[in-house]
Amino acid sequence: MSKLLENPNPKIYPKLEEKLGTDEKSENVARNPDVYDARSIFELLRNITDPEHPLTLEQLNVVEQSLIEVNNENNEINVQFTPTIPHCSMATLIGLSIRTQLLRTIPAKFKVSVTITPGTHVAETAVNKQLADKERVAAALENKYLLTVIEQCLESTVAEDSDPEKDDDCQTCES
């Protein structure tokens, strides 16, 4: 990674609690841990740290609840993320962090797709193709250097995740 920041002064957005005033948990999730909605997926992703800034993906508006789609009947989860700048070289890494977080926290039956919000990145098609290729994702996650970087991005999400069931899932997929 270069020492010069690509985007030295990113726009910072308010956190969800600040917008809503409360930290209400989604009702669906409270009832049944296997049923997800956009809110509960957002909860899993919002605290991922940006690889470049000590800020969360929520604060940088990289992930937004409105760009998450969940279809519990078809077991499909689609997450769109928005790089902070259109030539961001970190786009694949951010996508990989989102993918890894979902791999570790969501039951394996779900088909997860992580794509760039249309029109927000110059290499959108190439990044999307790479993130959709599970073989390349699997190989990337066996790369120790890359994994260390991803773990750093995900550290804050583990600390804040107090749901014991999700911790179990996490262990299953790592063992």
Binding site: A108, K109, K111, K129, A132, D133, K134, E135, R136, A138, A139, E142, S175
Partner: protein, 334 residues
């Protein structure tokens, strides 16, 4: 419609199973996956049981395993950038040769029908051809024809002709130039709109089926120079034309396809957890063939199906491998 009956679920791998390969006799099955182990299963009366587990050959995921045509060797392709050759000289299988040279993950490995040539391909975009003599392996060619990650290599069923499928959306055909003994790309098959994950020749080797991230299967027909259809063959080399596209059947990426050499049935492995079987119409024109979906096994696995393969000796038997960690043995009946 045909019926696919589940005969057995084979459990043992930890995590994702990437690939299965039948022994030429149809009596053994090799499997591999993210746990870096190869498992060999055997037929004991009516049940499949584990025969042996091969470990310590690779330091990363084993992506594919392949039995040699004589059935005495297994080649394994790994993300650790090597290919291991295992043999059964003693009671146990042993890894006596490791092929090195690829820059990164090896994705696929395949033996030619004679057993004297081995092909490997990698994320480094290259396809390597190895010659074997008395258990010595020598690199005969490094082919840099693809522009991206190469996903699969497969030899022609009777000739020393090689096909490869890539992330660059194409399939390429290679053969040795007899004059220069160089391996050359003689044909590029363009039509898929995303990654081509796998391919399989039919029993004659004149046709290919390919599967892709674009959710289609395609059937390709080879036209030799001087063919009676008047198809131009510019370089005096056979031309491959896409003669049929099976679209609308698969809802996600198709990871594998196998064309049964005994029955002509095509089986596909899909990211929507479904195994599908296609049969050619009896009055199908080979220049414009039609295929029907004769079986669709919903929830064949609980996660993506990564691999399916017809048993080469026992009619209608299929093995499949999945991200759900299981291997399943199926019997197909019309």
């Amino acid at each position: 419609m045909g019926v696919l009956d589940l005969k057995q679920s084979l459990v043992g791998h930890k995590g994702r199973v990437w690939n299965v390969c039948w022994h030429p006799s149809g009596e053994w099955l090799a499997s591999c996956g993210g746990d870096k182990a190869i498992r060999i299963w055997t037929h004991d009366k009516s049940k499949w049981v584990i025969k042996t587990i091969l470990t310590e050959g690779h330091t990363r995921t084993i992506r594919e395993v392949s039995w040699s045509p004589c059935g005495n060797y297994i080649a394994s392709a790994s993300f650790d950038a090597t290919v291991a050759i295992w043999d059964q000289k003693t009671v146990q299988f042993e890894c006596n040769t490791t092929l090195e040279g690829h820059e990164n993950e090896v994705k696929s490995v395949s033996w030619s029908i004679s057993g004297q040539l081995l092909a490997t391909c990698s994320r480094d975009k290259s396809v390597w051809v190895w010659e074997t003599h008395d258990e010595e392996y020598e690199c005969a060619a490094v082919i840099n024809a693809h522009t991206q990650d190469v996903k699969k290599v497969r030899w022609h069923p009777t000739k020393d002709i090689l096909a490869s499928a890539s992330y660059d959306d194409t399939v390429k055909i290679f053969k040795e130039d007899t004059a220069s003994s160089d391996w050359l790309c003689v044909s590029t098959l363009e039509s898929h709109t995303s990654t081509v994950w796998s391919l399989s020749f039919d029993s004659t080797g004149d046709r290919l089926v390919t599967c892709s991230d674009d959710k289609t299967l395609k059937i390709w027909q080879q036209y030799e120079p001087g063919n009676d259809r008047g198809i131009a063959t510019p370089d005096d080399e056979p031309v491959w034309k896409c003669v049929c596209t099976l679209s609308g059947f698969h809802s996600r990426t198709i990871y594998d396809v196998d064309w049964c050499k005994k029955t002509g049935l095509i089986v596909s492995a899909c990211g929507d957890d479904i195994i599908r079987i296609f049969q050619e119409d009896s009055d199908s024109d080979k220049h414009q063939p039609t295929f029907n979906l004769v079986c669709s096994m919903d929830n064949a696995h609980t996660q993506d199906v990564n691999c399916t393969q017809w048993n080469p000796a026992i009619t209608g038997v299929i093995a499949s491998a999945s991200d759900d960690g299981t291997i399943k043995i199926w019997q197909y009946t019309d």
